[in-house]
């Protein structure tokens, strides 16, 4: 008999059907990977097993846990099972812990609640569980508060609570999505080890096919509230997926747009020993002002027509560097120049001329549009940088042309941002960046907020535009797959410095610096790394 058996689960919220006839099986000791894009219903499926659904939700079908239909259980019986028979790990470790209670107390609560242990006993058990998830009390005392821990450490605390009573089933909903790649691998390994030790079943939910393939014994692909395909896990087996959507997902994640090699031209952007400091809050009013050095003596050159990648974990200084390159923030040392003109001296008309030549595409296209402005106004915004004010009809023509260039219709100019789909919005953002015919475009994680199936289209568009318009790209990303597909050269940043740079393939295939090696290991060969565990 399987540990968890979901049979023909239907779910609707306020009358709108969300899940249709979802059926999944999970045996003890098995890892089931559920993969799908956002909105596919995978999280709601998990919450149904926990019976932690919003109030307006109606369900039909059966969810058998060890043979008992949890949908038919009373709330009190369900409370007994949560934390004891099923543990759950959530996506957002930063907000998943109560900020006002120590981590020890939060883990201890599981023991006092389910086993009725005294406070001292519960805390002793909590310490040993924290140790088990890699938070030894000697290094991370249980008296710490969540805000004193890093994201990865907090996720370990959440995992500690989920596995504290060695439940038969652990559900992990995007447990590593909010974490850096190197941290991702560690957390996944930990989860797999823990469920293996306890002989429990693990339901791992992710939008990332690579993560699921590496971890799972079996994979279920969900789309629009339905399970479209189930198959065996593992790297080889994952190649066997046949459903057209599953195939599209797989191909999209490995998509490489055609980019004809262009000979690099003269130097366009030169960054020379750039330093960027942020003041830290003073510990007391009379303390000397201290600084956090986000960019620490970075030098590089980008040539005309090149596509250069900038990679690193979050907080490594890559976004700060991008803002400095865009002249949005001043440098505290060194210089940045565009075609020989120092950014520090730009004022009024020379600044406008600079902005015309350097534009940006943001990670979250929706957030980069004022929701109260229409698409035409948004795309035409940089036109104010032209030397001569342009007539409304000329402006309209330029906006229409820019829209057509990125594959939108001229009539889209009258729509509001929320009327576009995610992929269309990123096209809109690209149109805005290109309307002044810039030389250099800074792309800050341009596809990481997009669903995998849309990613490929946007990458194709970017590659095509670069060839046609002779653009130079500075491509910032944490996703090495995208960087490999889109860039000629790559720079790896860590702690505010560039630790390695060179030809993209050379660097990613033969990393020399430990940071690069860590990034490459964690992302490209997640499966291999996990198999070593």
């Amino acid at each position: 008999m399987s540990l968890l058996s979901i049979e023909d689960l239907d779910l609707s919220i306020a009358g709108t059907p969300i899940l249709r006839k979802v059926s999944l099986q999970l045996a003890a000791g098995e890892v089931l990977g559920v993969v799908g894009e956002s909105g596919s219903g995978k999280s709601l499926t998990a919450l149904t097993v926990m019976r932690l659904l919003p109030r307006q939700v109606r369900t039909a079908g059966r969810v058998l846990l060890d043979g008992t239909d949890v949908l038919a259980l009373s709330e009190a019986a369900m409370c007994e099972r949560r934390g004891r028979a099923v543990g759950m790990v959530f996506q957002e470790p930063m907000t998943a812990l109560n900020p006002l209670k120590t981590i020890g107390a939060q883990v201890a609560e599981v023991f006092s609640l389910h086993l009725g242990l005294s406070r001292a006993d519960a805390e002793r058990r909590a310490s040993s569980v924290l140790e088990r998830v890699g938070l030894p009390p000697a290094r991370i005392p249980p008296t710490r508060y969540p805000h004193e821990l890093s994201g990865g450490q907090r996720q370990r605390v959440v995992i500690a609570m989920a596995v504290a009573l060695s439940p038969r089933l652990v559900i992990a909903d995007e447990p590593t999505t909010a974490l850096d790649v190197t941290m991702q691998a560690q957390i996944l390994k930990l989860l797999r080890r823990l469920v293996a030790e306890d002989g429990a079943g693990l339901m791992l939910i992710s939008h990332d096919l690579a993560v699921v393939a590496a971890m799972a014994d079996r994979i279920a692909v969900m789309r629009r509230g339905e399970v479209v395909e189930t198959g065996p896990g593992g790297a080889a087996a994952f190649e066997a997926l046949v459903h057209p959507y599953a195939v599209a997902l797989r191909e999209a994640s490995a998509h490489e747009p055609a980019r004809p090699a262009a000979p690099p031209g003269e130097p366009l952007l030169t960054v020379d020993k750039a330093v960027r400091d942020y003041p830290l809050p003073r510990p007391h009013p009379f303390a000397a002002r201290r600084h956090n050095r986000a960019v620490d003596g970075v030098s590089f050159t980008v040539h005309r027509g090149e596509s250069v990648g900038l990679v690193g974990e979050s907080g490594c200084g890559k976004s700060t560097l991008a803002r400095a390159v865009l002249a949005l923030e001043p440098l505290q040392g060194g210089r940045i120049a565009l075609a020989g003109h120092d950014l520090a001296g730009l004022r009024g008309p020379t600044m406008a001329a600079f902005r015309r030549r350097v534009q940006m595409v943001f990670q979250d296209p929706y957030g980069s549009f004022d929701p109260r402005h229409r698409a035409g106004r948004i795309v035409g915004e940089p036109l104010r940088l032209l030397d001569e004010p342009i007539a409304p009809d000329a402006r309209g023509r330029m906006v229409a042309q820019a829209l057509v260039e990125v594959g939108l219709a001229p009539g889209d100019a009258d729509k509001y941002p929320h009327e576009f789909s995610g992929g269309q919005r990123q096209r809109l953002a690209i149109a805005r960046a290109l309307i002044t015919r810039p030389d250099l475009v800074v792309l800050d994680e341009p596809v990481s907020a997009l669903d995998v199936s849309i990613r490929a289209q946007i990458l194709d568009l970017l590659a095509d535009l670069q060839t046609r318009l002779g653009l130079t790209y500075l491509f910032i990303s944490h996703d090495l797959g995208v960087v490999r597909a889109m860039t000629d050269r790559v720079m790896v940043m860590s702690g505010g410095r560039i630790v390695e740079e060179g030809d993209t393939r050379t660097v990613l295939d033969h990393p020399r610096d430990p940071v690069t090696r860590g990034l490459v290991d964690a992302s490209q060969h997640l499966d291999r790394l996990l198999s070593q565990a």
Binding site: M50, C79, R82, E92, A96, N98, P99, V158, M161
Partner: protein, 315 residues
């Protein structure tokens, strides 16, 4: 924690200094000569001049400011022109009415509002919630002095349970004095409790939607347990801010309410002093009220740090 308290204390002192300067300047530009007020319009110029020297009114303003602040720090608030008694004695006497009244009203507000607001949030969208929201909606709209009059009509004039006004003093034991303060305190508390209950409800609803409450539920806590053990304390943080702000409204309310009930408190003192142009009293009492608001907000800041470890450690 200590450095946090010290920093807040430094800013408290700075604020008090600025506040005293503002109050002093406002009173400086007032028309009317205190010496003239004390001696009447018929006074001889030389007696006037003599009194001005005696009161120190001939000295330059900065010197008088320093002297006034120095007096405030030592508890010497000067001598009232009209009562011919030290202002500190007058204030001390009046505080025996106003302070218990303000504290009673504040405790009533908190003791009623927090459970009621929490109940409404726990039973959201139920009849209980809807009735609480309806009653508090009206409670916010009621002027406290009018509500006071209604209370008097009902409980003093019609039912004769409680006195309609006046204050017997604490000399006859606490009960007669408390009886005189019940209606004023209820009148003061109603609008504030209505506001606070609504703040409590929405704050608790916000925290109930937080991820950590879901985590707690995943551990096996029931809805009620998750609310009590995890949501409640987090929900109290914004409530604290409002309590701090409400103290300032309460002070203003006390002044008005004392007029309805003829209570010999600070508020009545200010009014009599204004009408008699007793500037020393006005100046000192206004300063006292402003200072109390500032000090309460300082205490709220400290309370924050006690509730929230994120503030404590940051220092």
């Amino acid at each position: 924690m200590l450095s946090f308290v010290l920093r807040r204390f430094a800013s408290l002192v700075a604020t008090l200094v600025v506040a005293s300067a503002v109050v002093f300047t406002a009173m400086e530009v007032l028309p009317g000569d205190p010496a003239q007020v004390m001696l009447g319009t018929q006074a001889q110029p030389d007696t006037l001049a003599a009194l001005r020297t005696k009161l120190g009114l001939d000295k330059p303003a900065p010197e008088r400011y320093v002297a006034w602040v120095g007096g405030l720090v030592r508890g010497d608030l000067g001598t009232s022109y009209t009562y011919s008694t030290p202002v500190s004695e007058l204030v001390g006497e009046r505080l025996q009415v106003s302070l218990p009244l303000a504290l009673l009203a504040l405790s009533l507000t908190i003791l009623v509002a927090i459970p009621v607001g929490a109940l409404a949030a726990a039973r959201r969208n139920s009849m209980t919630d809807l009735s609480i929201m309806g009653v508090t909606q009206v409670g916010i709209a009621v002027p406290n002095f009018w509500f006071a009059m209604l209370l008097v009509i009902l409980f003093a004039i019609t039912l004769r349970w409680l006195p309609a006004g006046g204050f017997p003093g604490w000399g006859n034991g606490p009960w007669p004095a408390l009886r005189g303060l019940i209606l004023p305190a209820v009148a003061l508390a109603l609008p504030q409790a209505s506001i606070l209950a609504r703040v409590m409800r929405s704050s608790l609803l916000d925290t109930l939607g937080e991820d950590y409450v879901r985590t707690a539920r995943a551990k096996g806590l029931s809805e009620g347990q998750a609310l009590r053990r995890h949501a409640l304390r987090n929900a109290l943080i914004p409530v604290l801010t409002i309590v701090g702000l409400q103290f300032s409204f309460l002070i203003a309310g006390t002044i008005v309410i004392e007029n309805v009930f003829y209570l010999p408190g600070i508020g009545r003192l200010v009014f009599q002093a204004i009408n008699q142009r007793d500037l020393i009293v006005v100046k000192s009492v206004v300063m006292l009220l402003v200072a109390s608001v500032i000090v309460v907000n300082f205490l709220v800041d400290i309370a924050y740090a006690i509730v929230d470890p994120r503030l404590r450690r940051r220092g």
